[in-house]
């Protein structure tokens, strides 16, 4: 049985200007422990899809199931990482990482604090516990955001272009780190991204969505001949280029030719 199931989801937004059909008849399933990528043209409802699974919004029709039960609202079972770290500047790194536990009412437990402190040490932030976010580099901030998400021990992680705000080198390094951490913790991961190599390097399976209203256009299993030890290794695999091209073709990106004004 799939761990995350979206069954025939439709979503409409109403505004005074009219009705926006964001998702239409979208179905997705994710096995436990799987890393699944979601790619698609801008505005196809990728982030909306994550908000549905996180229980932040409800579909107009269709069903969202996590662990076999319908999603009724945000729960500790699902962790969400946004495009930027959104660390609170007025809190120390430790206080930021305890945020989720504080909101769910379990931060008072000494064991939770201990666990967060251990995670920070493991991820090389041990000496920054009492520092404020502005003293950390982009990669370190993103690591702290990961600790904040993992602190509530979610089974599912929703990553919404989590590396897009980082510079290229840091991005590659963070892909390695996050992959390793989440694989080791046997998390189920949904990764929304624009970065096709990132999707191929990190995911077992990639869904390609159509432009709005979003539907599944292709469901591509990234099967490499050798077991994928890390995203960097995957990038070196001979099949890497094949999967890249496959997704690129499915995306069917047409750049409108620029109208050249006459001289």
């Amino acid at each position: 049985m799939p761990f995350i199931e979206l069954k025939d989801i439709s979503l409409k937004y109403m505004t005074l200007e009219g009705e926006t059909h964001a998702l239409s008849g979208l179905s997705i399933d994710v096995e436990q422990g799987q890393f699944v990528g979601i790619v698609g043209p801008s505005g196809c409802g990728k982030s909306t899809l994550l908000s549905l699974i996180a229980g932040l919004i409800k579909p107009t029709s269709g069903q969202v199931l996590v662990g076999g039960t319908p999603v009724k609202g945000p729960s500790a079972q699902v962790g969400y990482m946004l495009q930027q770290d959104y660390l609170f500047e007025w809190r120390t790194i430790e206080q930021n990482c305890l945020l989720g536990l504080e909101l769910t009412g379990s931060a008072i437990r000494e064991s939770s604090r201990q666990q967060v402190a251990e995670m920070l040490t493991d991820y090389g932030l041990g000496s920054f516990q009492k520092s404020y976010p502005r003293h950390l580099s982009g990669g370190m901030r993103q690591r702290a955001a990961l600790v904040r998400t993992l602190a509530t021990s979610p089974d599912v992680l929703l990553l919404d272009e989590p590396f897009s705000a980082l510079d290229y080198h840091t991005r590659l390094a963070m892909q390695e780190e996050v992959y390793e951490i989440l694989r080791a913790a046997r998390k189920t991961v949904l990764l929304v991204t624009h970065d096709i190599p990132e999707a191929v390097a990190m995911c077992d399976r990639v869904y390609v969505l159509t432009k709005r209203p979003g539907r599944v256009k292709a469901d591509i299993h990234i099967e490499l001949a050798e077991v994928r030890p890390s995203p960097m290794q995957a990038r070196k695999a001979p099949e890497f280029g094949k999967f890249f091209n496959r997704i690129w073709e499915e995306l069917d990106v047409h750049v409108q030719p620029v109208e050249l004004t006459s001289k």
Partner: protein, 286 residues
């Protein structure tokens, strides 16, 4: 050839405190700049009072109408020796402090209510706009009749002037908090109350402090207007009384005292802001 000059020893000690000779030269240049700014500031103040005194003595201006520094000093000494100086100062400062604190507290509470209920915010919007643009001083007679010719009316005046501005500034601050910060805590299942206390208020502290700075000035305006209208004590009363009996020395003395008191109160808020920012900065630096 060098003459002994204390500036020279200061110069060399500043230059030597730099990490390199070039850095030392930079520090010295910065020091010189800062020193000249302070020199100009002090000179302007001294020159203003000196010129005023000279002009009055030479008969260029009429000291009966425009007073003069030596007479102001005399008035100050007199007020000091009969003890009334401190009484008037205390009355005005207390009224201002109460108006200021009440304005900030009530304004923030109303802003929270408006944030809480978007419907309420929309419904009250036109009234806030009208109240904000209306000169609140016109409410003075109303306060006197309803609240009596006492300090309550004066504080009400101060409150009337600062309250609406506080509501508008703080509420706008609340609305400008990054929506993604709110989304973040919602993914953890935060309640509306938690969104308020964990995100909206702490993220708006800099805005609230900015509102405090504006409020200090507005509270002074409210209190002085109030004292003009009803009081029997305070710096506003001294000024209006001085004007009525054509004692311009008294008027100028209260103006100067007010300038000093208002500046001190502003500095207190600025100091609070600095302390708050320093506490945010934290002890850890890497």
């Amino acid at each position: 050839m060098y003459m002994f000059n204390p500036l020279n020893s200061l110069r060399s000690s500043i230059i030597q405190s730099g990490e390199t000779p070039d850095h030392g030269a930079y520090l010295w240049a910065q020091w010189k700049r800062k020193a000249s700014i302070i020199t100009v500031q002090v000179t302007m103040l001294v020159a203003f009072f000196a010129l005023w005194e000279v002009a009055a003595r030479a008969g260029w201006i009429d000291p009966f109408l425009l007073s003069q520094p030596s007479r102001i000093w005399g008035t100050l000494v007199k007020l000091h020796s009969d003890g009334s100086l401190y009484h008037h100062l205390l009355v005005t400062c207390t009224e201002t402090a109460i108006g200021f604190i009440l304005g900030t507290l009530l304004g923030t509470i109303v802003a929270i209510a408006l944030w809480w209920s978007d419907f309420l915010a929309k419904a009250l919007d036109p009234y806030l706009v009208v109240l904000n643009s209306m000169p609140k001083i016109v409410l003075g007679p109303l306060f006197i009749v309803v609240l009596g010719t006492n300090q309550t009316a004066i504080i009400a005046m101060a409150l009337a002037i600062s309250l609406i501005t506080t509501i508008m500034v703080v509420f706008t601050g609340f609305q400008e908090v990054d929506r993604n910060l709110v989304k973040l805590v919602k993914t953890f299942g935060a309640s509306r109350m938690q969104v308020m206390t964990k995100v909206i208020v702490p993220a708006s502290i800099p805005t609230i402090i900015a509102a405090l700075k504006v409020n200090v000035g507005l509270s002074w305006v409210g209190v002085i207007v109030g004292e003009f209208l009803v009081s029997r004590a305070g710096l506003g009363y001294l000024a209006i009384y001085g004007g009525q009996v054509l004692n311009m020395n008294l008027v100028m003395t209260s103006v100067l005292l007010l300038a000093v008191a208002a500046a001190l109160m502003y500095q207190m808020v600025a100091w609070l802001e600095k302390r708050y920012l320093a506490s945010r900065e934290g002890e850890a630096r890497h």
